[in-house]
């Protein structure tokens, strides 16, 4: 056996343990917590923005300013900010090292949040100045994040699926940013002209299949076995998914952006195969689990994977019909983003937030007083309600541009917004219960 750490005695030991909790590699709780709180704020704003964007969604006008605002509130405000927070918390567990620079991480956050608020406000109002200023701030924040993550990854010695998921995702995020800046400039001076739609397609697909999905595959490689106690699951599907995304997402984006149909088709095929491999992997985790009870968060995540698979069915038609069927493309984007990635992230919060709350509130009491389990902090009703609202809402919004019209888009948007409020309100109630002692005693 290898002894790594030895404790002292009596009261000194308690003081020593407190010091260890803030050791360099330990997770800085304030940093991820700030990201999570802001991400929930952006999620709620995304729900409201979707309601406001209902007429444009129903018309299939996915390039309209309100749609751009709603989409970026989810992609940047909810998904990317959540990924940043999770990584700051999770890197020591996943890769054995913490983020290279915490001050840079705080600076990134300080630039990203106001930048995104400015950007979406400018996009929604179609006001160039706040949109450009916000985009500049977000761009600087993303570069800072990539530099920080790159320095961190360079120090990692054991390079498994999680490492490569983050590395592939980070590399693609850099290109997503370049495409985003090109699109931002084009909004102001029109330089992309008729290519704008192609670059939008490349930007969106590289963001989701190239940045978000590899990170999801990499992170879930560590989190899902932990959450489900499924350490024995075969992880080769994750490796296959990562390989498919690593090759397929850039190829798909290049094919879409450069109007090279063969490249887009091959890339799309690889991405679809990767998504199927990931769905199979999730199935293996569930089958191998030692914990029979599936908690609400994992149920939400599993439903989200179902949403992504539903989008896969629409994908080939969108690829073939392209801009000729903007309604189909809008429905596809709605299902991918609001019915797939948004709840996939939300499901993981049902494990992350209660854990952080438990850590903050109850870890000093371990061995001194009865403490609740993390799962005791979450009641199952709200996540089930949120999931139901979300599924119906997304289906209505997706069906709106296919013929159901503005009323369906608005109703669906309201249901989605209600779902975000249920999730955010529930997490707030977990973080700040009416009585701090609730749930103590097992």
């Amino acid at each position: 056996m290898t002894t790594l750490e030895t404790m002292a005695t009596g009261q000194c030991a308690a003081r020593r343990a407190v010091r260890l909790a803030s050791a360099p590699e330990a997770p800085p709780l304030v940093l991820p917590a700030a990201h999570f709180a802001a991400a929930f704020g952006f999620l709620v704003l995304a729900g409201l923005a979707l309601v406001r964007a209902a007429p444009a969604v129903a018309a299939g006008a996915f390039l309209a300013g309100p749609v751009t605002a709603a989409v970026h509130l989810v992609t940047l405000g909810w998904i990317t900010l959540s990924i940043m927070g999770v990584l700051y918390q999770f890197l020591p567990v996943a890769l054995g090292i913490g983020i290279a620079s915490r001050p840079l991480a705080y600076a990134t956050f300080a630039l990203f949040v106001p930048g995104l608020l400015l950007f979406v406000a400018g996009a929604a109002a179609e006001a160039p100045r706040p949109r450009e200023a916000g985009l500049a701030l977000v761009a600087v924040a993303v570069v800072a994040f990539l530099a920080n993550l790159g320095r961190t990854l360079a120090r990692v010695e054991s390079r498994g699926i999680t490492f490569w998921g983050l590395a592939v995702g980070a590399a693609n995020l850099a290109f997503v940013l370049v495409l985003g800046l090109a699109l931002g400039a084009s909004l102001s001076n029109g330089w992309l002209a008729s290519s704008r739609l192609d670059v939008v397609a490349a930007h969106v697909h590289l963001a989701l299949a190239g940045w978000v999905m590899p990170v999801v595959v990499g992170v879930s490689r560590r989190l899902m076995p932990m959450f489900l106690l499924a350490h024995d699951a075969d992880i080769r599907p994750s490796a296959a998914a990562l390989a498919g995304l690593g090759a397929g997402a850039p190829l798909l984006a290049a094919g879409l952006g450069l109007r090279a149909p063969w490249a887009a088709a091959v890339g799309a095929g690889l991405v679809v195969a990767a998504l199927l491999a990931f769905a199979f992997q999730v199935g293996l985790y569930f089958r191998a689990r030692r914990r029979p009870r599936v908690d609400p968060g994992m149920r939400m995540a599993a439903t989200a994977v179902g949403g992504l698979l539903a989008a896969v069915l629409l994908g080939p038609a969108v690829l073939v019909l392209g801009s000729r069927e903007p309604g189909l493309a809008t429905a596809y984007g709605t299902i991918v983003l609001f019915g797939g990635f948004a709840p996939l992230v939300a499901g993981h919060y049902y494990r992350i937030v209660p854990f952080l709350v438990w850590y903050h509130r109850y870890s000093p009491l371990v061995g001194r007083a009865p403490v609740p389990k993390v799962s005791d902090l979450v009641t199952p009703g709200p996540p089930s309600l949120a999931l139901g609202l979300l599924v119906v809402g997304v289906l209505l919004v997706a069906a709106a541009p296919l013929g159901l019209g503005t009323g369906a888009a608005r109703t669906g948007g309201v249901l989605f917004a209600a779902s975000t409020l249920v999730v955010a309100g529930h997490m707030a109630a977990v973080a700040w219960p009416r009585t701090a002692a609730r749930g103590v005693g097992r």
């Binding site: 932990m226 024995d232 371990v366």
Partner: protein, 101 residues
């Protein structure tokens, strides 16, 4: 109480059941996290692991172990050693406890 004045290892194990892994919801003994308990007079050494390296609960677990063992009659010092070899796996969970998950 052992012949040399310290607690019996079985007493230490019983006390350790008051320390739970809040994420899984089982005590650290049932989880199989405790690898060894040695008692030498008033000195107790607990060798244990965590469910994952870098686990943020590490300090809380160590603190809890120190507290519950330190409260046993005759205990003067508590040494908690965190080891990673062998790595923990769900196979180490007490089968009886597994059924309660």
């Amino acid at each position: 109480m052992s012949a040399r004045g310290g607690p019996d290892p079985a007493e230490v194990l019983a006390a350790l059941r008051a320390v739970i892994d809040p994420e899984i919801g089982l005590d650290i003994v049932s989880l199989g996290l405790v690898y060894d308990v040695r008692v030498d007079g008033g000195s107790v050494t607990v060798t244990m692991t965590l469910t994952a390296a870098g686990c943020p609960l590490g300090a809380a677990m160590r603190d809890g172990v120190t507290t519950v063992v330190g409260a046993l009659p005759g205990v003067e010092t508590v040494d908690v050693r965190i080891v990673w070899d062998p790595p923990w796996s769900p196979d180490m969970i007490d089968p009886a406890a597994l059924g309660t998950l």
